[in-house]
Amino acid sequence: MIGRFSIRIKFGFILDMVLTKIKIMAVNKQEYLSNVLETHRISHIDNLVSKFKEKRDEVKTALQSKYGTDIYTPFDSGSFKKHTAINTKFDLDIVVPFKRNPFETLEKMFLDLYEFLDNEYSEEATVRKQKVSIGIEFDEDDEGDIVSLDIVPGRELNQDQYSDDNNLNLFVNENYGFLSKNSYIQTNIQSQIDHIKAKEDERKIIRLLKIWKHSNKESFKSFLLELITIKAFKKKDITGNLWEKLEAVMEYIRDNVTDENFKLKDPGNSNNDVMDTLENWERNDLSNRMTTIIERINDIDENIKTYFPVNSDFEEEEKSSSNEGYGLKSGIATSSIPPTTQRFG
């Protein structure tokens, strides 16, 4: 027992030193958020991205071979294309522009595509109908990776018109805010992609909000967070460091989304208001979330880690919490005292 006691004192002393250091080192929110973005960069997962791209190309080829001249060339969309992807959760989007005449209705187009993908991939993936797209989630491979793709079918408005205007009608498969099931929505995905071009500041904030959405399991759509961020930058003077910009955007969301006149025009179709995808209670919920996040982080800086965690898989050695700055990890070796993550009950 005497031996153990002395070990305990020794480790207790080390722990004290570490704890003291942490208390002194208040979180620098600007640096911290930069690190959050850094650890969520897609470039950290090149190997996985290659797998995604390989599957995406495979699906594209299959689609072209199935539908031939009934479709225009499928193209990439989504966060990759917009440079707003994060490495903890992403999928690749493929837009399939159908010509006007092959299908009588948009629903038939949607179902035909679903049946084709389901026949083609159900043995190696889960294929499911989503709101306006069809999701393919491939089974885990030997390295534990899961590839998921979203296939968005759209139909040109009139025969041969797509080449001129890039406009597409999408089938709405499930109730989606004020959009009812089995209706359709006209949009222009290319314009959506163009809308975020050359907006590096906005992209950083969008990525941070997506990190929040993903890590806190929030259900708000990424597209909505994207548009609202861009609008915040337009409507408000958003300057300062990364934290100040993020806080300003969150304040903008907090203060505006509950206003019934607040609209988010779809860059693909100015008649679409993306706010319509939210019910009233969801607008309140989004505003409340922003209020809480701002309050909690302003209470205690460390709470920023609750909402915007680093991806510890890609944390640089010198910044990792086992050394300085970002908290004491459970991995700290102690034989005589439990780690600080020791919960009680």
Partner: protein, 554 residues
């Protein structure tokens, strides 16, 4: 001025007292008569009054002034001796108190004498609970999923609860397990299976008469003869046969008779009287036809006093009538994993709050040193926690279906196999049988697994820091990252000042029952509100800051 004069003067000043007379100081009490008259009253009413020396203070829970008029016994809230039941406001000034109490009497006259109002709640029949063979007997019953018809009778199966003391005398307590009708149909009472599954210890007989066996609908009959018109001969024959068959073996044994009647909302109340085998209040009467004996006999009730015992309706509605958690929790299937300090408090609170389905899982053993800050009991010795807690929870509520989960399921089995696709599906399927899972294990690995299973079930995770400085409650789908971050980075979790039990190298946290319970109760109150109002379940932390507590929502 004497007390009697003060009382007389004050009563005389009350405007609706037309006359006060025959007032005098008895050995202890002041007695007298008053005549009450006011415009709404068609004719004056006379009352005797009696004021005890404690007036204006109360005697126990009763007013120390009584008003009597034996002509009014048929009315509501009048006792058999004509005393009017009034409950009035507290006042320590004799004069003011007299005014208040006479006003209460006037209100009673307006409500029940003039307006003949009905009460919205049910008032039990009035009877004196009697001892039989110098022992009180109580019979606790609950609802059944069966509609009795008038005149239906049969056997009652009982189970003995703990015996004890009631008003200074011994009492034997029983619950009614089931009824067995003459049609050989068994009707279980709606207790939890814990109370139904054990073999009955005693028996009795029941007769459902539908109408209240009472004078003026409120004074329970106190003579068997009064029940003649309610009790069919078949039932008396049944009793006679029973007595005859059991006389030799059970002479002198008490055999309770349950008399059932309808109250409000088709509820049934049972009045119970134990009768002695060999001394049933029935007699044989020779049947006569045109004055001549036919040679046949029938039974009739005797002119004999009834000794009513204590009977209580303890159905779910009344058992939890004074307070319960929201039915959005109590009706759900709840699994509590980890029943240490927090888990046992959560379980007990849920059970006292009316939860109907609770399963508990833990691998640990309860030791004597666990008792000081959990819901375990010293007198049950050393036990598996889940087994002991089941006994305790069942002892609290007769309406909770409890099950214990295999000790190893969450501690080891799930960890071996959770990442195997097919087995994982089975885990998900079995866990999703529950509506709510409360993880109180403090096991980070299990927390991670439950998070990763992406269950549709509601999961909440509860744990505290050392010294119970903070309680963390996280809901799925955002549990693991949130909790780890709180403990790693945000909260001050002192892991040095721990308690080291003698003889084992397993330090534990320091906190008293009070420290932990206040946090757990606050958390459960918050959770109950979230469910009751269908609010979004945001994670929260309750912090103890000096002597204040702060709930921070995330």
């Amino acid at each position: 001025m004497s007390r009697v004069s003060i009382i007389e003067t004050q009563i005389n000043e009350i405007p609706f007292v037309e006359e006060i007379y025959e007032i005098k100081q008895e050995e202890l009490n002041v007695t007298g008569k008053v005549r009450i008259a006011f415009p709404e009253l068609s004719a004056p009413l006379d009352f005797k009054f009696e004021i005890t020396p404690s007036y204006p203070l109360k005697n126990y829970d009763s007013e120390s002034i009584t008003f009597r008029n034996s002509d009014l016994v048929e009315l509501k809230h009048v006792m058999g001796n004509g005393a009017i039941c009034i409950h009035t406001s507290h006042n320590i000034d004799l004069r003011k108190k007299l005014t208040i109490d006479f006003l209460s009497l006037k209100k009673w006259i307006e409500k029940y004498y003039i307006n003949k109002e009905d009460d919205t709640h049910y008032e039990h029949l009035i009877y004196k609970e009697k001892v039989v063979k110098d022992i009180y007997h109580s019979y606790i019953f609950t609802d059944v999923n069966y509609i009795f018809t008038k005149g239906e009778f049969g056997k009652v199966y009982l189970n003995e609860l703990s015996n004890g003391t009631y008003k200074g005398k011994n009492i034997k307590n029983y619950i009614v397990q089931s009824f067995f009708t003459q049609g050989k149909f068994k009707i279980n009472c709606n207790w939890s299976s814990w109370y139904i599954k054990s073999s009955p210890t005693n028996g009795g007989a029941f007769i459902y008469i539908d109408d209240a066996p009472a004078l003026f609908g409120k004074f329970a009959f106190n003579n068997w003869e009064d029940l003649k018109q309610f009790i069919p001969h078949e039932f008396l024959k049944f009793l006679h046969e029973f007595e005859k068959n059991n006389l030799k073996k059970y002479k002198g044994t008490l055999f309770p008779i349950f008399i059932g009647y309808r109250t409000i909302n088709s509820e049934i109340h049972w009045l119970v009287t134990p009768i002695e085998i060999g001394n049933f209040p029935i007699k044989g009467i020779a049947e006569r036809l045109e004055g001549k004996k036919t040679g046949k006999w029938y039974s009739e009730l005797e002119n004999d006093k009834i000794s009513w015992s204590i009977s209580r309706n303890s159905s779910y509605k009344y058992f939890f009538g004074r307070g319960a958690l929201t039915s959005k929790i109590t009706d759900k299937k709840v699994l509590i994993i980890g029943v240490g300090a927090i888990g046992s408090m959560v379980a007990k609170t849920l059970v006292r709050g009316g939860c109907k389905y609770i399963h508990i899982a833990d691998y640990d053993v309860k030791e004597p040193e666990n008792v000081c800050r959990s819901e375990y009991l010293f007198n049950l010795g050393i036990n598996d926690k889940i087994e002991e807690l089941s006994r305790i929870l069942s002892a609290i509520s007769p309406f909770v279906e409890l099950e214990t989960i295999d000790n190893h399921y969450f501690n080891s089995v799930i960890k071996f196999f959770y990442d195997k696709k097919e087995i994982r599906k089975e885990f998900v399927k079995s866990i999703e049988n529950y509506d709510i899972i409360i993880d109180c294990t403090t096991d980070n690995d299990l927390m991670y697994i439950l998070d990763s299973l992406k269950l549709k079930t509601d999961i909440m995770n509860l744990s505290i820091t050392n010294h119970a400085k903070a309680l963390i409650c996280a809901f799925n789908p955002n549990i693991y990252d949130f909790v780890i971050n709180q403990f790693s980075n945000v909260l001050k979790n002192d892991v040095e000042d721990l308690y080291n039990p003698t003889g084992c190298w397993d330090p534990t946290f320091k906190a008293s029952f009070n420290d932990i319970a206040v946090l757990v109760q606050m958390a459960l109150k918050n959770i109950n509100g979230l469910y009751e109002n269908n609010l979004r379940k945001n994670n929260f932390v309750i912090k103890s800051i000096e002597s204040n507590y702060k709930v921070e929502e995330f």
